[in-house]
């Protein structure tokens, strides 16, 4: 029964994604180990307009994205309850279901909005564990579904769900589009838009902590320059251009500074741009290459890559006293590191036997753990709940995005239906 269910779900998942337009799509590659079984009953529809978006289907694909849940489709259910009174716990236990979600969508008192009320039940304990309510325009039902998925995830797993987050990435020119595109999409690949398009390279997208702006590098002026662009207005502004490289922008956790790399002093060094003062402060000063900065969650230090020892390694600079500490010692190529959201370690690009992998290193133990078995992996970005890593890799000669859960159990690829995707950047949680 259980095995059959997994097979069936895989089929449904594939079917669903193959016929719905999106820029990226998630295809789970690794096995699903010990998933939580949940049933999401089709929501009662109490609106006059015809239903075109089905919340239970979106919630199903959300929860199954990273292999932690298996969601029972309506075809496998013995009844389709929409109220507490209609639930027969025994039936759901028989189907191997751990949790059940029911609910309905109706018109809201607020003009043009819909209101979805839902309840999450724990089948073993035979009681409800959460009652939720999401209000949103009828056109935004995908968003409503993602919000419900976030809450379901949080109530069951105890950490925030990430289904309302976004992904920024760069699409390289293809036969269909000769331009580089800075794209933003929902984490499931839907709602993809091009924020900026240019025949010259675009690089290094970084989200502002309030999720309202993106910093990135554009070569539109013939040389690298850092731009900030608002998402709601498409308004953009270039940071003061300095001679040489202007690259690797990375927003500080409180949003008032951007760390970046400038080579105006003759070689690439770390700088901090104060957005209020519009001025640069130099952090590192070394004749080697210093690049790829990332802010620690407490804003006290910057991670960076430097070849000052002869090969690229990860270092940490204290932004107050500019003191520098080397963090990686294993191997001869460690680069583009990002702090884990809890600040207890880093994820970075590590070369072993000539192959580039994504690896993590715990600060306390110092142990390097290689997560990926793909080839030419780079640009890791971590989900704001710390559970999933998306990175750039190759499928043959094509650039694709792929992902892996922190526990290493679930692997997935996110092939782009058009173009080739690279440099993923996971948005913060705020909506």
């Amino acid at each position: 029964m259980f095995k059959f269910k997994i097979f069936f779900l895989t089929f449904i998942l594939f079917f669903y994604f193959s016929f719905t337009y999106s820029q990226l799509r998630i295809e789970i590659k690794g096995g699903i180990a010990d998933p939580i079984n949940i049933a999401v009953v089709p929501m009662k529809w109490e609106l006059e307009s015809t239903q075109t978006t089905y919340l239970h289907k979106i919630i199903k694909s959300d929860l199954e994205s990273f292999g932690e849940f298996v969601v029972l489709p309506p075809e496998g259910m013995l009844s389709l309850p929409t109220s507490k009174e209609e639930i027969y716990y025994k039936d759901w236990r028989l189907l191997g279901v751990d949790y059940l979600v029911i609910g309905g969508t109706k018109g809201s008192n607020l003009d043009g909005n819909t209101e979805t009320n839902y309840i999450i039940f724990d089948i073993a304990r035979e009681k409800s564990i959460h009652r939720g309510n999401v209000i949103g325009p009828i056109k935004s039902l995908r968003k409503v579904a993602h919000k419900m998925s976030d809450k379901i995830y949080e109530k069951i797993q105890g950490i925030p769900g990430i289904f309302s987050t976004k992904l920024a990435y760069i699409d390289k020119p293809s036969s269909e589009d000769p331009n580089y595109n800075l794209r933003i999409s929902d984490i499931d690949g839907f709602e993809s838009i091009s924020l900026f398009s240019s025949p010259q390279p675009l690089m290094s997208p970084s989200w502002s902590p309030d999720r309202k702006e993106i910093a990135y590098v554009s070569f539109e002026e013939g040389t690298s320059r850092i731009f900030l662009q608002e998402l709601s207005s498409a308004k953009r502004k270039g940071l003061k251009l300095e001679e040489g490289i202007n690259s690797s922008p990375n927003w500080s956790p409180n949003g008032d500074m951007i760390s970046a790399v400038l080579s105006k002093s003759g070689n690439p060094d770390l700088f901090i741009y104060d957005l209020e003062q519009s001025s640069w402060t130099q952090i590192t000063k070394h004749f080697g290459i210093d690049t790829e900065p990332d802010w620690s969650p407490d804003s006290r230090s910057l991670l960076f890559t430097s070849n000052r020892s002869g090969s690229p390694q990860i270092y940490e600079a204290n932004v107050k006293n500019n003191r520098i500490k080397r963090l990686t010692f294993e191997g001869t190529y460690n680069a583009r590191a990002r702090y884990l959201p809890d600040g207890k370690g880093i994820v970075f690009v590590h070369r072993r036997n000539g192959v580039f992998h994504i690896a993590t290193q715990n600060f306390r133990s110092g142990k390097v753990r290689i997560l990926t078995d793909t080839y030419l992996d780079e640009s890791p970005t971590i989900s704001p709940n710390g559970n999933v890593i998306i990175y750039a890799t190759k499928d043959g000669d094509r650039d694709i995005l792929a992902g892996i859960t922190m526990d290493g159990k679930t692997k997935f690829i996110m092939p782009s239906l058009k173009g080739e995707a690279r440099e993923p950047a996971w948005s913060p949680l705020i909506d």
């Binding site: 290094s204 539109e220 709601s232 690439p268 690049t291 000669d397």
Partner: protein, 154 residues
């Protein structure tokens, strides 16, 4: 702000919709703004011998390259040309590190041109890192052609 600009801005806001509460179910691809830089990219320059090649993760020029640079320096001075040196890398390693490495390659070539008598104010350098490969393919054949510096007139 006139009415046309206002309505254009409104359109952009609706199309983008990513932060507002209004959002269409299946958003079509929309280009917010397009840059106006030139399109097609090529490696060609003032002579067919304007390309210098490098070893992996290295920025030093070999003896063959030094001979090329000597010829280029003479050409630049004889014709009073201004040049732009572009540094490029292969796809291996991280993008931002490669951007830095590409600059080192461009600067090495620029310094060698200066040593060979070209005035520094006639030379510009730029790095494209691994962003503009001339050959696609994840193999040494492609990589060796992509690890390059180009001397172009402008």
């Amino acid at each position: 702000m006139n009415i046309t600009q206002k309505s254009l801005l409104t359109t952009i806001i609706i199309v983008l919709a990513s932060c507002s509460s209004v959002s269409s179910d299946r958003t079509n691809d929309s280009t917010a703004i397009s840059a106006s830089a030139s399109g097609a990219y090529s490696d060609s320059g003032m002579t067919s011998n304007n390309v210098l090649y490098f070893s992996y993760d290295k920025s030093d020029v070999n003896s063959e390259g030094r001979i090329k640079i000597r010829t280029l320096a003479k050409l630049i001075n004889d014709n009073d040309l201004n040049v732009r040196v572009e540094g490029h890398c292969d796809e291996r390693g991280t993008r931002e590190y490669n951007l830095a490495l590409g600059e080192k390659r461009a600067k090495t070539v620029a310094e060698l041109l200066i040593i060979n008598g070209v005035s520094s104010d006639k030379i510009q350098t730029v790095s494209y890192g691994e962003e503009k490969p001339i050959v696609n393919g994840s193999n040494e054949r492609s990589w060796s052609q992509n690890r390059r510096a180009l001397v172009k007139t402008f």
